[in-house]
């Protein structure tokens, strides 16, 4: 196909990109099958709880620690996977679907830019086969949903900058709402987008009215769905800001040098991201759209430099999970900026030499910085390209211990005379243990066994107060932190011990009032 193809042909090409991207994710995901991504598994497990835990749909179980968008998107996929007999394949389905959508969005933009076919193939390949994005997709991580939101925002804002069509503004606003409810720190990108849209709206008659109306149109979905989420936290959890307290409640210090990590991670994700952002942001640019993308990419990178503690708590101090939003912005933005760059120049274009001087300088500096950092081993990349294609995906963890523990719990709960007994799981990843336990039991028994999960050890009293004789208590963290809380409880340690995790059966229980 070439740029002379009919609209139907171009649309078909975009859907072929969708199908191929989804197929690649399925192939890699099936190879990576023993591995899990904890964020993805958490979303999957919560979606499972919403559908099946109480014997009927209970949306209140979608969980209020992680952002809700991924859980909501997982719900229909988990329902389908359940019908197919293997709930865990919902992770691959999730990754395939949203990688496909990401490819579809990108393909449509590349076609609109009238890039030659080989350039479209290369850029789409860069997006789909990138070790980071493919890793996230293969394991069903919510980050692949973030990629879709990011590409949607960027594509829409590029189109809106050029044509001013209302549909692009609305599209951008809906993607922005999706982004904020996928990763909360995307609020900074949305603020930057609002600033850009507002500045571009200052024109014509009554410019301030135009800005007001445009920004209301753009921000209304973000504000509304955010308010819904806050309201849900208030009604169901009794605390409107419960989600923020638990999302940002972890360690607030990075394990590695913050400044270096924040500056270098985008380069690892897309080596020429700064050069491309510089090239498109300089006036006089041929188009405003790519400048907006440059702005959005930088708006994701700057906040972690200003408030590193907030970002560190997102990933328990680990660089890659905490800063995944800026790596995704770099990949998504990098592909779109590369496309914009290529669309500006024909071979032999005399403008090339003049406009590229500064860009080349930034590119050389980027390569130098990257080489220095990698030589110094300051920031470790998650995986290589070949590893990813072989199914050894980044951010994948073995979950065999959790599966075994789930089987232990399941075996206990389905024992004779224990139908009314419960398991109480405290610590991380309790959601995974509960999920695997329910998977073991669900084909055999209805309803599902009662398993309560408490995500972290900052709250001791509530789970201990709820213990009853016969309950199974599973502590997935340092027992010593629970010693005083469990002092009044008479427990028997079960013989099966998995790693450092303790499994206790409650014999008697009484609560000493403080």
């Amino acid at each position: 196909m070439n740029n002379q193809t009919s609209p139907a042909g171009r649309e078909l090409e975009c859907w072929i990109a969708f199908a191929l991207a989804a197929a690649i994710v399925v192939i890699v995901g099936m190879q990576a099958a023993p591995l899990v991504n904890w964020d993805g598994l958490s979303a999957l497990a919560h979606a499972y709880d919403v559908l099946f835990r109480d014997g009927s749909v209970n949306i209140a179980l979608l969980g209020f620690v992680e952002p809700p968008a991924s859980v909501i998107c997982y719900i229909p996929l988990v329902a389908i996977a359940h019908l197919l007999g293997n709930v865990e394949i919902a992770a691959v389905m999730f990754g395939a679907l949203f990688m496909g959508i990401a490819a579809l969005l990108t393909a449509r933009l590349l076609v609109r830019m009238s890039l030659p076919l080989y350039a479209r193939i290369v850029l789409l390949g860069l997006l789909v086969l990138h070790p980071l994005t493919l890793s996230y997709a293969a394991l069903g991580s919510p980050v692949i949903l973030l990629l879709v939101a990011v590409l949607g925002i960027m594509k829409s804002i590029m189109s809106w900058s050029d044509d001013g069509h209302l549909r692009d503004l609305i599209g951008c606003s809906l993607y922005a709402a999706l982004a904020v409810l996928t990763r909360y720190e995307m609020v900074f990108v949305v603020i930057a987008a609002a600033g850009y849209i507002g500045s571009r709206s200052y024109r014509g008659e009554a410019p301030w009215q135009r800005i007001e109306g445009t920004l209301i149109t753009f921000l209304l979905p973000v504000a509304y769905f955010s308010a819904l989420w806050i309201g849900a936290n208030s009604i169901i959890m009794g605390d409107a800001w419960y989600f923020l307290k638990h999302t940002f409640g972890g360690p607030d210090i990075f394990t590695q040098n913050t400044f270096v990590a924040v500056v270098v991670l985008p380069l690892i994700a897309f080596p020429f991201i700064y050069a491309l952002a510089y090239h498109e942001a300089r006036p006089p640019g041929p188009g405003h759209g790519p400048a907006a993308v440059s702005l959005l990419v930088m708006s994701a990178i700057i906040p972690p430099l200003l408030i590193p503690g907030a970002y560190a708590s997102l990933g328990d101090g680990k660089i890659w999970p905490a800063l995944c939003s800026i790596t995704i912005m770099a990949v998504g933005g990098g592909v779109l900026l590369a496309a914009a760059f290529l669309s500006q120049y024909a071979p032999g274009d005399t403008k090339l030499t003049h406009r590229l001087r500064g860009t080349v300088v930034v590119a050389i500096l980027s390569v130098g910085l990257l080489a220095t950092v990698r030589v110094g081993g300051i920031v470790s990349p998650p995986t290589t390209h070949i590893d990813t294609l072989r199914g050894n995906v980044a951010f994948g963890q073995e979950a065999s211990a959790e599966r075994d523990l789930g089987e232990t719990i399941a075996g206990y709960l389905v024992g004779p005379g224990r139908e009314d007994n419960r398991a109480v799981v405290v610590g991380w990843p309790g959601f995974a243990v509960a999920f695997f336990a329910r998977q073991r039991v669900s084909p055999l028994h209805r309803p599902l066994p009662a398993i309560e999960v408490y995500p972290e050890s900052r709250v001791y009293r509530e789970p201990v107060e709820r213990l009853q004789p016969g309950d199974l208590l599973v502590i997935l963290e340092d027992e010593r932190a629970w010693a005083s809380a469990l002092a009044p409880v008479s427990m028997t340690k079960l013989p099966r011990e998995l790693g450092s995790w303790q499994v206790y059966q409650i014999r008697t229980y009484y609560w000493l009032a403080p």
């Binding site: 009927s56 209302l166 609305i170 109306g213 979905p221 819904l228």
Partner: protein
Amino acid sequence: MSHRQQPDISDVSLRVLRDRPEECAYITVTGPQKIAILAALIILAVFAALWGCEVLVVLNGAAMVFYVVHSVWKFWLVWRSLEHKVELAYSPEELAALDEQTLPTYTIQVPLYREAEVLPVLVECLDGLDYPREKVTVQLLMEEDDVETIEACRSLDLPPQFEPIVVPDSEPKTKPKACNYGLYQSDSDLLVIFDAEDRPEPDQLKKAVAAFRDLPDDITILQAKLNFYNQRHNLLTKWFTGEYSVWFDLFLPGLTAARSPIPLGGTSNHFKADHLKELGGWDPFNVTEDCDLGIRMHKHGHHAAMIDSTTWEEANGELFSWIRQRSRWVKGYLQTWLVHMRRPLQLFGQLGARGFFNFQMTIGGSLLCFLLNPVYWLMTALWFTVHPAFISPIFPPVILALGTFCLFIGNFVFVYLAVAGCANRGYWDLVKHSVLTPVYWLLMSIGAYKAVIQLVHNPHYWEKTDHGQFGGTSLDE
């Protein structure tokens, strides 16, 4: 006054009734329909007596499914309009290139009743239309008992293309009856309706001509967009403007793109006159004769398209007057739905599956929304305040999920559509008022319930809207 051969008023009044009684609203609810409604009510009563809660669950579930489908459907049609410009647009250069010698003849109908105040400005506006005067006839249709307007007309020095016509006094005293009277005195190729307070864009007639020439022959109706020149008079006119902006700029274009019957607006409908005459003109017994005509013409193979031209009207900014106007519109929609649903299978065959579905959603669906909304608003308010015991049993998990979707997503969709309508028109200062649209919906529902009551007691009564109440005739900037 006109010296053409005057048609028999009773003939033109009753032509639809005489020739197509099955499509006339003279009888609002036919015998078989009454039997069907009664039977349904009896069955419902029996089921309710036997399985009360289950019946409520089923009805509630059906309502939730309807709301979800309606929300998605409307958003989809609006999105189609946003994705691709559907209405036909012509540049000034293209219009200037039209050979005026070959332009068709045009009749402009303006039904008037107690419009003496706006008459001078109306004449000035229509005289300013960009169309050869010798090819235009402007019929000023006045009722025989409207002495004030007739005298005002006589006192004006009317340009030669204007033709005052006095409609003999007869029942029903409605706008469509007057239009029919003028229709059968017209021998023009094309015909358009304007209201007394209308300010069509000067090039609208030429745009319609160009569109008719470019479109297939089955397109015999063109609908221009309507909007208001007193948009910012008060909060009610701002909401009204938002509603019109969505309806004419975004929703109807999406509907025409789906090749579905559209409820025509009461003005700025351009017709190929012969086809209109074949069908007997408007139904004088339907108080939204425009809506009915759009459906009826589509049934008989005549389809509609939209043109990118605006007629500026006066928005009703007085609350009780607005409610009366809205109640007439809703009553007319009810009449239209009942008339065309007399033979549902035949209607399905005439409209096709997509057209039938869109008819149900547009006419029946709008009605159902107006009538159901207050019920669910009340239930929601009760649930969040006093948690009455009767609500939980009728919302089992799946229906609760659908209800939650409708409450939080469906309502947002409709508010956002109002915002989009204002933004699409560039009414940026009205965007913030559109966020308060749910209050406007309450007014719509009040009008709807009034309409239902009036349909029973006085189905053909025409609630006349007074014009010239809200400011001048220039566009409100």
